[in-house]
Amino acid sequence: MTIESGHLGEELQDLLDGRLGRADRERAERHLRDCTECRGERDALSRVKQAVRASLDANEVPARVTSGVAAALDHEEREALSAPGVRPARQRSRFLGYAAVAAAVAALVLLAVFVPGRRNLPSRVALDYENYKTGRLPLQISTDEPEELDRFFAARGVTFPTRVFDLRMMRYRLVGGRVLNPDGRKRALFVYVGPENKILACEMYEGDVRRLPKNGLQRSYAGITFFVYRRGGSTQVFWQEGATACVLVSDIPTEEVVQLAFAKATKV
């Protein structure tokens, strides 16, 4: 207690921030019971502390920043991988390593550009997305209610759990869905519309993402592995949810699709 004034003075702050020992705290609390002036100051400081915290709680990180950070880390990792001291997992000359990477990239480009009809799953998902965008694959139900869409899928014979999510927190609004059944194995498709009317689609199917083509980029987040592909002008991000495989597809920047997949996969 400050001797001159008989009030707690700066000790109020230590009390508020839990920095007083037990004896000092009890003495300060006894003083507060009898001193309206110190109580008023304690309440004022406490209000400020709570208000500042609350005012900044709800802020969100812009997608631009999220993708910028991910891209910077990707770049840093690539730089580290190509540094002279880095030993590839399998010992081979760096030249051969680069040649192999260059050949793989060239093969991917060829695959994407010249063989669009090839029906591996990332390409098929890209085609579904393109067909939806161009009106060739209409929705069977229009709704912004995830539960209604889950019920619709169940009623249409989808046996795996679809877990349609509300992505409004990420600024994507659910617009509806349909069942895809081109080869007897049902897939659930649902579509969201985001900022600037960008379209994001999700497909779910019973399957194992480890059986996807090996040329996808692997990313890891919260213990989940994501497989990222670029096919037909869109990005496809796959991950596993129990026995169900999920994929998000969109023509927004790749990193934004990845971040949306992270959000969707970890949403409880």
Partner: protein
Amino acid sequence: MPTRELEEKRRSFEEIALPLLLVVHRTARRLTRDTERAGDLTQETYLRAYRTFDNFRPGTNCKAWLLTILYSIFVNQYRKERREPPSIAIQDLEERFHELASSSDNPVRWSDREVVAALERLPEESRSVVLLVDVEELTYEEAAAALGCPIGTVRSRLSRARKALFVSLQEYARRAGYIGATEE
């Protein structure tokens, strides 16, 4: 470093540091008071954190570690680029605080917008300590390490900053007619 170790480093970094992106960005946003620069500062913070991730000791406070990096970049690269706009200069702060805190005004809820505006009008050295201690809940010791100043300085800056915020917010509420209307 072998490829596998690099992959492990990235996985570990994404698990420990990336969930704090919101914290880093909101602190950057309020320090720089500029959306564009906040994005750049956030990105640079994460990049430097990733490069020096081997220095991070698992089990210690990752938030404090990231904010220390952020503040160091801010001080060296951002603060000197821009002159501070006029900030809250409260004459006789102590006296004014005592007066307002002991007045019989009914407490009104300050709007988040006004709280943020008042925070941004604080001088940078006061604003940073409020952000670290009151918003991000760092201890005085962690805040002192992040800001590169003694603990006593954290304590005194925080005291002055909270009082300045209270005076600013109460005076705004009075001017806006939210409190004190019965006296008119």
